[in-house]
């Protein structure tokens, strides 16, 4: 019993936090929503020491094989908690846009994070599906939260319909896998598949559908159609959380299903994933070029990044898998830095058009500098975190012999640099239409400093995170 509580401590803590905040929200109403979000942010901090402490526990499956405590789960829970924390710091920039229900907005972010936490520890397909749905449904509501904004409602509706379709595919796939193997339990399926025999057709079909569900979550070709509209329409913190949280959850499932359950059969799927990765990189980066809205541009660029990370999945090697982990952790801080700047900027100017960023370096040197660094990190320029992630991925691809894929990835770096640097040029060299300075709130300032420290730290002193990324692969 104690062992179970120890293993479930992060989830229990999140549940407690959620309950307390729910009661406080009922008591305070709309009046003290910013205090509420600060409590939520502070409440997420203890999760990190808990996760560190848990890494010393014996790794095993609990609760009748439903729940798994391993290094991979802990690594991803760290990513989810950091993402939720930074996103909550961002939500205060939205106060004016949301007519009512600030408290619920924060609570929904926590439920999404709770879903991600459970997904990280799922050791059973039913559990996995339920936790992913918990996450997805929270996101459907969050996306449509700006009730007076047609773009937000459209985005929410689009995400709901396409997301449900993807959930259906995933569930259908799970049913086929269950039908072929007779179990929902990861450990049992792993045991059955560990003899390395050929996969029967229904099982292949099931796995294909599950992979389709994963590709939807990570926003990869050909399941990327929802991304631009949803990213543009959703409230900025939600877009940010989708881009780092939901995407990471998708890759987590890819690890669990493709690499742990079917690792011996994985090589058969490699050509498929290589093609998907290459097409996703090209589509995302090329389609980002003509964008005029910065959130839409980041939507396309996030498709491109999903393609890069898929390189690591495709290589199915230790190096490639640790590269995925490293990349996701660096992408978290980098992308959130960009969205923090966007949120702070649009709070004052009400605009997400790239054109309106002209002269930002004069209006707010701090925001412009942070945006500059973050965009360079996204493009993969040393000595920033994004560079080392890309370096590891390309290294994985080259050592496994996927030279063509590596060349596509390398070429896309140049394309992405083009559209990122267009923004930089607008911020630094163009004249502002309205030279009024932009105020930056304390939480955003704080969160941006954290992101900067992470981008530089992971980029220069790569050792610790690389160790964690490697441990997350081999510890399971």
């Amino acid at each position: 019993m104690t062992g179970m509580i120890h293993a479930l401590l992060p989830e229990l803590w999140l549940g407690l936090l959620f309950g307390v905040l729910l009661l406080l929200d009922l008591k305070w109403g709309e009046t003290r929503s910013s205090t509420l979000s600060m409590i939520a942010a502070a409440g997420l901090l203890p999760v990190f020491p808990i996760l560190v402490w848990q890494s010393g526990l014996p790794f095993r499956d609990l609760i009748g094989g439903m729940y798994r405590l391993d290094a991979l789960a802990l690594f991803f829970k760290g990513i989810f908690a950091a993402a939720a924390l930074l996103v909550i710091l961002m939500t205060r920039e939205l106060e004016r846009d949301i007519p009512r229900g600030h408290g619920e907005f924060t609570l929904l972010i926590l439920t999404a994070a709770f879903g991600m936490f459970l997904a990280a520890s799922s050791a059973n397909f039913v559990m996995l599906f339920v936790s992913l749905e918990l996450m997805a449904i929270s996101f459907y509501v969050l996306t449509a939260y700006l009730q007076t904004n047609a773009g937000s409602l459209e985005a929410g509706m689009k995400y709901l319909i396409l997301g449900s379709l993807a959930s259906g595919l995933l569930l259908y796939g799970i049913a086929f896998i269950y039908g072929s193997t007779g179990s929902m339990q990861f450990s049992k399926i792993q045991e059955i598949m560990s003899h390395g025999q050929a996969m029967p057709v229904p099982l292949r079909f099931g796995l294909l559908l599950v992979i389709a569900g994963i590709l939807f979550k990570v926003a990869a070709v050909p399941f990327q159609f929802w991304v631009p509209d949803v990213y543009q329409g959703a409230p900025t913190p939600v877009t940010a959380f989708l881009s780092v949280g939901s995407k990471s959850a998708g890759f987590l499932v890819a690890f669990r299903v493709v690499q742990e359950l079917f690792i011996l059969q994985a090589k058969q799927w490699t050509p498929l994933i290589v093609w998907v990765a290459g097409l996703t990189i090209l589509y995302g980066n090329l389609a980002a070029i003509p964008q005029r809205n910065i959130k839409r541009l980041l939507g396309y660029s996030s498709i491109g990044h999903a393609g890069y990370i898929l390189i690591g999945i495709a290589t199915a090697s230790r190096l490639g898998s640790s590269a995925v982990n490293f990349y996701l952790a660096s992408y978290l801080f980098t992308n959130l830095a960009v969205f923090l700047v966007i949120a702070a900027f649009s709070r004052q100017t009400g605009s997400d058009e790239i054109r309106s960023y002209a002269g930002l370096s004069r209006r707010s040197p701090f925001l412009a500098a942070m945006m500059f660094v973050a965009l360079l990190s996204l493009a993969g320029v040393p000595p920033l975190a994004g560079f080392f992630g890309k370096f590891l991925l390309l290294m994985g691809a080259v050592t496994e012999g996927y030279l063509a894929l590596a060349i596509i990835g390398a070429a896309a770096v140049v394309v992405s640099l083009y559209y990122y640097l267009q923004i930089v040029y607008t911020m630094y060299a163009d004249k502002p239409e309205d030279p009024s300075p932009i105020a930056v709130s304390l939480p955003v300032r704080l969160a941006l400093w954290v992101c900067l420290a992470a981008m530089l730290g992971m980029g220069i002193w790569q050792g610790p995170l690389l160790q964690l990324s490697l441990a997350a692969i081999s510890g399971s």
């Binding site: 040393p382 080259v398 770096v413 083009y418 640097l421 930089v424 040029y425 630094y428 050792g463």
Partner: protein, 496 residues
């Protein structure tokens, strides 16, 4: 502290200190920047004077384990080739800070980017680990974007984007080559010193070398710049502020040829042997084509820009000879051309800041109005034309000697290139600086005593090495044989 690390670190630390100084304290910003580039210059000079001549291998090596799991270590050090190029770099970096005293707009940001650029370039010359080599290489490319985009002139938006994308495209192509080298060598390390020894014992199969060599040649060649990938370069020179043009033409372009000889030629000798005739052909295109295009230019910065890409053809030709004489000539020419072109760009920048035009035919008679600057430009033009007494002469001579043995027709074409250079340089001098003074420029100010310092430093470098080439050649020739030592001895003899 290790002097090599110091050369990388001081500019970088300087940039960090600048971030803490308030924007309005411009005097302190300039002082810190000067110190952050003067100390590395001192270190480089100290290393050149204390260099153990005749002792092959790397000196002042510092090694810090970085990512042992991947075979990555921070490892820096110099041999005879890189120490000379570091001297060139620190000379251009320091004089560039002095020339930048004319920058009045957003001074702090300017120096931050400038110092980051200086640190990155120094890192490339000093790295003895392929990972850090690449890391510094990209770090050197990116600060160019804001430096040209914000403080540049003319078509700067187009120029800076084209430059950044070309150089990044080259860099990632080279990265694929480096990673393949890592994967194929089987040594599982990026350690350059170890790889040199390892690959001498266990050479990569010839086919593989021939396959990989173009990745590195073209990837690093973009910055060299090899024809026909050179078009970003004159454009970038023309749009950049003076100090950045100095550094760009003086040092950045040398990164390419340095990387080609240090990595591509040294680690892939058979690939080099197969592809070198092509490189010689490209070099001739650089020399002749670049020269003819320079003749057709009206803007003085474009003249020097195309002339630079033409002169880098001699460097490539020297490398292509694959013998120690040509290699010595190539390295010495990198040094000489760097100082020469830095001086030319500094002089042009001085005039442009006051005339706001760089069209040569609109100048006229400036020698009367700004005699010191005019003298500096004339000296640079003469050096460029290969006048004896300047370092350029002796280095070009070495390249001719070497190529006469290896590629006779190329040598003839290269000598013809000298005539072209003399033609457009002397024409620019005649039209721009002599003849009657254009009355529009009666207000021009000559360099003050303080402003003369950078020119004197650069000129001293050119003349000292020109009159006493042994001073540097002894150091360079300590290391050139070991770059070529991977080649089959028979092949070297055949080349000679």
């Amino acid at each position: 502290m290790n002097p090599v690390t110091g050369i990388i670190l001081f500019p970088t630390i300087g940039a960090m200190i600048l971030l803490l100084i308030p924007q309005r304290r411009e005097d302190w910003i300039r002082r810190v920047s000067a110190a952050a580039t003067l100390i590395p210059l001192g270190l480089a000079l100290w290393m050149v004077f204390h260099f153990p001549r005749g002792v092959a291998g790397y000196h002042w090596v510092q090694r810090i384990a970085w990512l042992p799991a991947l075979g990555i270590q921070y490892q820096v050090g110099v041999d005879g080739i890189s120490v000379v190029l570091l001297l060139l770099h620190t000379l251009c970096g320091f004089t560039g800070v002095l020339v930048s005293y004319r920058i009045k707009e957003r001074v702090k940001e300017y120096y931050v980017f400038y110092l980051l650029l200086i640190g990155g370039v120094a890192g490339v010359f000093a790295s003895l680990d392929l990972f850090f080599f690449y890391l510094f290489y990209e770090m050197a490319v990116i600060p160019m974007f804001p430096l040209i985009g914000i403080w540049g002139s003319g078509e700067k938006a187009y120029a800076t984007m084209k430059l950044t994308l070309y150089l990044t495209a080259g860099a990632v192509l080279a990265l694929i080559g480096l990673l393949s080298l890592y994967a194929i060598s089987g040594a599982h390390t990026f350690d350059l010193i170890f790889l040199e020894h390892f690959l001498r014992q266990n050479p990569i199969p010839g086919d593989m070398q021939r396959f990989l060599f173009p990745f590195l040649l073209v990837g690093f060649g973009v910055i060299a710049p090899i024809w026909p990938l050179h078009s970003w370069s004159p454009l970038g020179h023309a749009a950049a502020p003076s100090a950045v043009s100095m550094l760009h033409a003086g040092v950045l372009m040398k990164l390419g040829s340095y990387a080609i000889l240090r990595i591509a030629v040294q680690l892939l000798p058979e690939g080099a042997y197969t592809w070198m005739p092509w490189v010689a052909g490209i070099a001739i295109m650089n020399i002749v084509y670049g020269g003819f295009v320079a003749m057709a230019q009206k803007d003085i910065k474009f003249v020097i820009g195309y002339s630079s890409s033409s002169h880098m053809g001699y460097v490539l030709l020297g490398i292509a000879c694959l013998n120690p004489i040509g290699m010595n000539g190539a390295v010495l020419l990198m040094f000489a051309h760097g100082l020469m072109t830095a001086m030319a760009f500094a002089a042009v920048g001085h005039i442009y800041d006051q005339t706001h035009t760089r069209v040569i035919s609109e100048w006229g008679g400036l020698a009367r109005q700004v005699p010191f600057i005019a003298t500096a430009f004339v000296m640079a033009a003469l050096a460029s034309a290969g006048l004896p007494g300047f370092a350029n002469f002796i280095s070009e001579l070495l390249v001719f000697f070497a190529s006469w043995n290896s590629y006779r027709w190329s040598a003839l074409a290269a000598v013809f290139g000298i005539v072209i250079t003399a033609f457009y340089m002397l024409r620019a001098v005649r039209t721009g600086f002599f003849g009657p003074l254009n009355p529009r420029w009666a207000h021009l100010q000559d360099a003050t005593v303080f402003e003369r310092v950078p020119y004197l430093i650069l000129l001293a470098g050119l003349l000292i090495v020109g009159c006493w080439p042994k001073f540097l050649l002894e150091i360079i020739s300590t290391s050139t044989p070991s770059v070529l030592s991977h080649l089959n001895p028979l092949q070297v003899v055949a080349k000679l």
